[in-house]
Symmetry: C2
Subunit: 227 residues, 2 copies
DNA sequence: GTTTTATAAATTGCATACAATTTATAAAAC
DNA sequence: GTTTTATAAATTGTATGCAATTTATAAAAC
């Protein structure tokens, strides 16, 4: 959702840009994504936008209503619970695999990401913080080396951002700075027990900050109500 | 890949039909999927076929080469190993959840599926057997109640069929009839230990039947495609 | 003032047309 | 006989046009 591009964008790139916008809470849950608007924003025809939206719908980030268009998904509380259950299952495995096979270069990438997170925090750029926090977990999955798990996390993390946008109880003061740091440190010293424990604690921390039993009202996105 | 339809097909339906064809080994790994051919086969325009192929590519069942078209994926041995690693992680969780929350109706659905598998076996319909074997695991995931895991398995099972098509050592005599039965029985009597053990054994059995270190030969039986 | 109905505008869903690219075929060169 | 080059056919990538549907606007009824 930026200025028009000079070079032609592939549909994956379009989908990625929209995903980033969702992760940064620039596109709130429930908002309608009008094809023509996106088409001119990205400087392509509706045909490509349509394919990108099809892709995002498959990921679950966008919901398609027949003849009514595409909307940023509003995950239900049940979906949120399922999502965290899945992450509790998968992320310990990711940690195990990272410890088992990460080389120095991988660790350097992780540490570099931590620096980027710290920078965003220092600058008080809340949107970038949220996106980078999600992308940390995606990077971890990437480093873990299993493409299927990497792909799964690449879907779950943006959805987690969406869930946070919907259910975050009145201004949780962003994620605590050092939980990611501690995880990477535990990984670096090959301490599997600790790393897994920290990861699970981190996930519990994120989930517990949510008010999943409160019906979210954010703004009223009428278009999504009559779905 | 059937006769032209009377009613308009949604892109998900098109994708599903192609998926079924892949699962039944009617579309072998590596084969090219020409858009125009599919369009006339399904009685729709290339626009919709393109969206369906985009979807299947996202699932990993189809691989897109720029300007060259869509091909049924030929999973590498490494991908195959990652896939089974993922299934070993996820399917015990599925079993746990099914035992925890399956009602009588769910069990009935599972048993009904076992009957369908037995029928296919009795009729010696090898293609249906392979597809139904994969779909058993998808059904289990569906019954487990976690949509994210359901979706993951809906991707991994067709890919598993593809891997079997590529790496199956010279004529493994199909899956043993009763491994699925035993799993359902263990689930029915709420025996978590046994059910998980049987599931892992089942997965090991499938994987061990593969020749993942042999470079697969590509031979497409064109005549059998539309049978 | 609210609800209902009619009309116009906006938007989606789909097919088609056309340029860009790749693949197949045939002729020429070696 | 094989390789190379040139030409034609097939196929993909993209935009655009139009029918179908939904949404917005305004007038009428209550």
């Amino acid at each position: 959702m930026d200025a028009a591009p000079t070079t032609k964008l592939a549909i994956e790139q379009i989908a990625e840009r929209i995903t980033d916008a969702v992760m940064e809470h620039r596109l709130p849950p429930g908002i309608k994504l009008v094809e023509e608007k996106l088409a001119s924003a990205f400087g392509v025809s509706r045909t490509k936008i349509r394919q990108a939206l099809t892709l995002l719908a498959k990921e679950g980030l966008v919901t398609l209503h027949a003849n009514r268009g595409a909307f940023v998904t509003r995950p239900s509380a049940a979906q949120a619970r399922d999502l965290f259950a899945t992450r509790r299952l998968v992320e310990p495995e990711i940690v195990r695999n990272v410890i088992a096979r990460a080389c120095e270069h991988d660790l350097a990438r992780l540490r570099q990401h931590l620096v980027a997170e710290a920078d965003a925090r220092k600058e008080g750029d809340r949107r970038r913080i949220i996106r980078l926090s999600g992308q940390f977990h995606m990077l971890l999955a990437e480093v873990s080396g299993n493409k299927f798990i990497e792909k799964l996390m690449a879907e779950l993390c943006p959805l987690t951002c969406l869930i946070i946008a919907l259910y975050d109880s009145p201004h949780t003061p962003a994620c605590p700075d050092d939980e990611h740091n501690q995880i990477v440190e535990a990984i670096a010293r090959q301490d599997q027990e600790a790393a897994i424990h920290l990861m699970l604690h981190h996930l519990a921390h994120i989930e517990s900050a949510l008010a999943l039993d409160v019906v979210p009202e954010l703004d009223i996105h009428w278009e999504a109500l009559y779905g």
